[in-house]
Amino acid sequence: MLSFLNGISQSLDAYLVLASLLFAIGAFGFLARRNAISMLMSIELMLNAVNLAIIAFGAFNRELNADASAIALIVIAAAAAEATVGLAIVIAIYRNRKTPLVDEYDAMRR
């Protein structure tokens, strides 16, 4: 059934491990980096990690096949929209504050 996946792991666990590694890297990047662009990139990583997990579930479980594809497509669309808006905001702030570092974005605190 999974003959087209020759040379690729036949185990669901492998995909889930990869997805969780990707998610962990994204989460770490989001929490640790101060640069707004890097943080957006980290968000993309996390989203794609989730996508990978969904697709993996869909591939290994016939009943979920169609649903998983639809969800993955929606997540891709949402991620694209989110990235667009996020970048637009970051650029707008950057023009005002001349810095990409989120530490300096403290106008609401004062």
Partner: protein, 669 residues
Amino acid sequence: MYDTLIPLIPLIPILGFAFTALFGRRLQLTYGRWAAEIVPVGGVIIVWLIALSVIVPAVGHQDPFGEAGLDVKLWTWIPAGSLSVDMGFHVDALTAALLIVVTTIGMLVHVYSIGYMAHDDGAWRFFAYLNLFMFSMLLLVLASSWLLMFAGWELVGFCSYALIGFWYHKRSAALAAKKAFIVNRVGDVGFALGIMAIFLDTGTLNIADSLAKLTAADASLTIPIAIVALLLFAGAMGKSAQFPLHVWLPDAMEGPTPVSALIHAATMVNAGVYMVARANPLFAHAQDAMVVVAAIGIFTAILAASIAFTQTDIKRVLAYSTLSQLGYMFAALGVGAYAAAIFHLMTHGFFKGLLFLDSGSVIHAVHEEQDMNRMGGLWRKIPITHWTMLVASIAIAGIPPLAGFFSKDELLGDAYKNGFAWVWFIGVVVAVMTAFYMWRLMGKTFYGESRVDPHVEPRIHESPWQMTLPLILLAIPAALLGIALSWPGPPLGPLFGMGDQPGLLTGWLDPVFAPSEEFLHGAPAAFQLGGIDGVLILISVAAAAIGLVVGIWLFGFFGAHGRHALVERLTAANRATRFLYRATLNKWWFDDLNDLLFIRIGGRVAAAMWWFDRTIVDGAVNGVGAITRDAGGGLRRIQTGRVQNYALGIAIGLIVMAGSFLVIVGQPR
């Protein structure tokens, strides 16, 4: 015509007040005193003329007044559902009797004040207040509803406060004004509660309607009639300075003397008597309350008379004398002799007003000295003052044929005949005391050797005509009003063979008082000059004569010197007399008692309450606030403004949620 004239009576003084208050100062500074005084004084004279034109038909029960009196409704003052109060006036013979006193003495005091205030820079202010007082008093007297009467009642209280404290830079005057105001409030609470009780019982505040409903035979009352009567009487006690609320009146003498004459002797303090007389059907149906009225009245009479024995301030003696006479009036009201009470109110208004104006003239003559120990021998130097004051003193002592004799005799006689022999007996004792302390005042002021300050002695002078003219004009009613108002009734009518007719004032007031008096005592007995009435008259004349003779013997008369040494020996004779002397000198320690009860003990209680409020009540409220504030202060540290921190929060939250999901779902079923 009367629909226009009656509202004008209070309207003119209030316009005079507004004008003088707004422009008086500028007029006085630009053109002199007369410019500021002409409007208020002229206005009051016009009011007097208008009042006369109303009084004459009103007391004669002519159309349109009739026996029930005339109601003038201007507009509906408070239309509020079941509570509807009219701005309206009610004029009957009782109102007219009060109008005579208020407008006549008011007018004469205004004229007198021109002379008395001739050296005072605040004259315009004084006249503005006087006009406001005239308005308030007339409103009180004319009001057709309890609420309007209460408005006038409070306004006269305010004017009294403002005028006692007229010389506000004098600390004692400012304190006396406050004392008068506060003590009056105590009584006013009672009056206000009484008015509310009347509304609860009857659903109306119109005086005539509510009295009719309260005394109807089939009335079902929420609040018993005796309680209503006592609440109203509490108000009267405050305004008319009856024990135990009498303490403010003597201190009120700190005000200018014309004020003492007008407000604290002749008019405002009569408001309580007027109010009880106005509510006479109510009191007649609450006889327990009437006994209280009589007891408090006669007790105040003897208490105040005893204090007047030893006071040395000329105005204070008169103030205690006023208290004592007001006590007489309440005693008369309490025994159901309403007409006698109003009779005494009128004669007392005139002779006591005269006495105060005289004392003002004396004080003026000896350069603002009020202590009688520093007077004496003045009768040659200020003859007009002396002779008018002599008339008034004999009048208040109750020597016929002067005014006080007739009213006091009627009052005491009625007390005896209505079955209150104890009131009569104490009243006779008070009559002796009255004659004595009045002569003590005359003797110390006018006769004997002069004790005036030697520097002032050569400059003693009679007062200007604006002051002496009112004295002479007041001396006439002080002497003759008794005869005029009691003729052709007892006691002179029967004496001159006029038969048994009612006196003039009794005839006037008959429609107001006859139902109550008949309800209380049945038809009045025929006057027996040869019987009981003659005996009562002889006793009261003898009482007055005894007091006067002892007074003359001790304090002198014209050239005759008094025996002051004897007085001092008597007061220091033994322990009992020394105690009595100290007691009356210290006013039976009522001021000290009040100080102890309300300033010290009351102050402690208030301080304890304050502590409770501050620490417990405020503590609870502030504690809630402080907890919220401190909690907020702690939590706001979480809001660092760093995106990473928030993200960490999200991550931790996610881990916790996911972890707890796993734990719960992973449980074996």
